[in-house]
């Protein structure tokens, strides 16, 4: 029983990290038809930002790093979008391979800058206790995700920019003919999505070491969240991310780590038998 309870914070916090990562993916995929494999490297960039800021901010680096990592990763995303991806809109498979090339290069850059071995970010002293079964650092990650989701929801539903974003996601041509600058909207979406990955990177420094391949561990699962949640769906991403995080940690608990991923995969395939397009679907009459 105690074991079951102990798995809960692990599952929830992994789910929260997956959610932060998947939000960017699901919006860029849903809105622009882009599969960004370099998204994992934005996570890594966020984590290394926290690592570098330790020299200036000491133990509270994590707090300072959150906004900085958001900007750093967001700008990287923006540059990638402007320089390469915008030429490939609507060709998801090509963007997948293209951005994988970018991801290889970024990993090697990280290796050259910071060295291949993992580095550690010391977490603040005030995150070292526990609340019942819930360690403070995992609680912090959970709150971070909740805060981000609320912020995104408010942005999407209550701001003019966010409503334009929804319009572009639902029908690009119609949005463009209504006078929305879709290119501008795409840039914003990319910036915010990549920035969230940076925040996820900072969150990951609280629960593990930072290395050049940090992003690759989470990117595959984050894509599964997108598939299970439905394209461009905030609700879908939240539910799918938490479900996947919990499923993962409990599957590891009841069987073992090596079988857990297989179980997750089988569950996703089974789930797609009932919901081939994920939990929530943007209804459309368009044919491919």
């Amino acid at each position: 029983m105690e074991g079951i309870l102990n798995q809960l914070p692990i599952g929830l916090s992994i789910g929260a990290v997956l959610l932060l990562i998947a939000l960017g993916l699901t919006f860029t995929f849903g809105q622009m038809g882009v599969i960004n494999m370099a998204h994992g490297e934005f996570i890594m960039a966020g984590a290394y930002t926290a690592y570098l800021l330790q020299d200036f901010a000491g133990r509270n680096a994590v707090l300072v790093a959150l906004p900085v990592a958001f900007l750093v990763a967001g700008l990287m995303g923006l540059i990638l979008e402007r320089a390469a991806i915008r030429h490939f809109y609507g060709r998801p498979l090509d963007t997948l391979l293209l951005t994988w090339g970018v991801s290889l290069v970024l990993q090697q850059v990280a290796r050259d800058l910071f060295g291949a071995p993992n580095v550690q970010v010391t977490s603040p002293t005030w995150l070292q206790g526990t609340l019942g079964p819930m360690p403070y650092n995992r609680l912090f990650i959970l709150l971070l995700a909740v805060g981000s989701v609320v912020a995104i929801w408010v942005y999407m539903n209550r701001s003019a920019q966010g409503r334009r974003m929804q319009a572009v996601m639902q029908n690009r041509q119609l949005a463009a003919t209504s006078g929305i600058n879709t290119g501008r909207v795409d840039q914003r979406t990319f910036f915010i999505g990549s920035g969230l990955a940076g925040i996820a990177g900072v969150a990951l420094t609280l629960i593990g070491p930072v290395g050049p391949t940090l992003g690759t561990y989470y990117i595959v699962d984050a894509f599964l969240v997108v598939v299970a949640g439905g394209l461009g769906q905030l609700r879908g991403a939240v539910i799918a991310a938490l479900a996947l995080g919990l499923l993962n940690s409990y599957a590891e608990f009841w069987t073992n780590a090596s079988l857990a991923k297989v179980i997750v995969f089988v569950v996703i395939i089974a789930f797609l038998q009932f919901r081939p397009q994920g939990l929530f679907v943007l209804r459309s009459r368009a044919l491919t």
């Binding site: 998801p92 293209l98 090339g101 595959v220 090596s258 297989v262 081939p276 491919t288």
Partner: protein
């Protein structure tokens, strides 16, 4: 819609086209180079490397069929390569061990041979499994996924997740699979010393001939009615469905064929290179092969083979000469090829539209 009206579909060919002999001539030329020239000029070590690239070319051929012809971007061919490889590796391990246990099992403290391993003693069973297991896994996955019209990027993501899960599974089951080290230290291959030059030479010919036969098979398939249907599914799945065909069946068959090819390649890879391990079949190697296909030219089967061999050489050369630069080069190559030459190297040589 107007595009369709303005540009009527190409009229069907008049009764009989004059046969184009350039393709078969090129194939014969490559076959002569591969089977006669290369074994004469290359020293054993280099011939072994070429044999390794040719096994990759077999996987690439499958990717070319599934992705180039069928539009199914499969990022998990490493899984099928691995299934074939492990089936062969298990047989070789048991053969070497005789009545005892394979060496890595002894090291991991396994005392009795796991039931899963027992039938692999039989060479016929092992070789059958090289084809059956990858085929069955691909068929099951394809049926479940394509039936629900899960496609495009979703399919790519799922196959990638499968590759990731497979690696973790293999690493975790140390006593059953040899963990991170995989299966290695083989001595005997069907009665021959696996390390001997003569065996390796024989293996080279085997790999080259298998590749040639599979290539001809895939080529015939591409030219057949089924091949036309496959192209149609790639370019307009819904329209094919409206015409009364079931795209799911076409896709499942093709995906299964490509998986079987990868399985055969894996089985040949094991005696040629002497190892099969999780690092050889995960997300990264699977993607590398897809990129090789893109570099060679995804819309032509020959492009897939060419790309795999060239990228194999490039990887060996650059990791020997400039190990630090290889990842940069590889990344840059991808960006350039996908960005500027989506039809790959073959695209430069073909005047007519190879996508059609």
């Amino acid at each position: 819609m107007t595009a369709i009206l303005e540009k009527p579909p190409v009229t069907p060919a008049p009764v009989k086209e004059p046969r184009d002999w350039r393709g078969p001539a090129l194939f014969a030329l490559v076959a002569v180079i591969g089977l006669v020239v290369m074994p004469l000029v290359l020293e054993p070590f280099r011939l072994g490397l070429l044999a390794k690239y040719l096994t990759y070319a077999i996987v690439a051929l499958g990717i070319g069929l599934a992705w180039g012809q069928g539009g199914m971007l499969t990022l998990g061919q490493g899984v099928f390569f691995g299934l074939g490889g492990y089936a062969m590796g298990m047989h070789l391990k048991l053969n070497d061990a005789g009545d005892g246990l394979p060496d890595f099992m002894v090291w991991s403290g396994v005392e009795t041979l796991p039931a899963l391993w027992e039938p692999f003693r039989n060479p016929v069973f092992a070789i059958a499994m090289v084809v059956v297991v990858p085929g069955a896994v691909a068929w099951l996955l394809g049926t479940l996924v394509f039936r629900q019209r899960v496609r495009g990027a979703y399919f790519a993501i799922l196959t990638q997740a499968l590759a990731a899960a497979m690696v973790i599974l293999l690493v975790g089951q140390q006593g059953l699979t040899g963990g991170t080290n995989g299966l290695t230290n083989f001595f005997e291959f069907f009665g021959q010393d696996v390390a001997a030059d003569s065996t390796q030479r024989g293996l080279y010919f085997t790999v080259a001939i298998v590749l040639g036969v599979l290539f001809l098979g895939a080529w015939q398939l591409q030219r057949s009615r089924f091949g036309r249907l496959l192209l149609a599914v790639r370019d307009g799945e819904d329209r094919v469905r409206f015409l009364g065909y079931n795209p799911a069946t076409v896709k499942t068959i093709t995906f299964t064929l490509s998986a079987v090819m990868a399985g055969i390649a894996g089985a040949l890879f094991v005696p040629v290179v002497g190892i099969i391990s999780p690092a050889l079949l995960g997300v990264v190697p699977s993607l590398e092969l897809v990129v090789a296909v893109a570099v060679g030219g995804r819309f032509a089967l020959a492009g897939a083979v060419l790309g795999a061999v060239l990228m194999g050489y490039a990887k060996t050369y650059f990791s020997e000469e400039l190990p630090d630069a290889w990842l940069y080069l590889q990344g840059a190559l991808f960006i350039l090829v996908i960005g500027l030459a989506p039809k790959g190297i073959i695209g430069f040589f073909r005047r007519k539209d190879v996508t059609a």
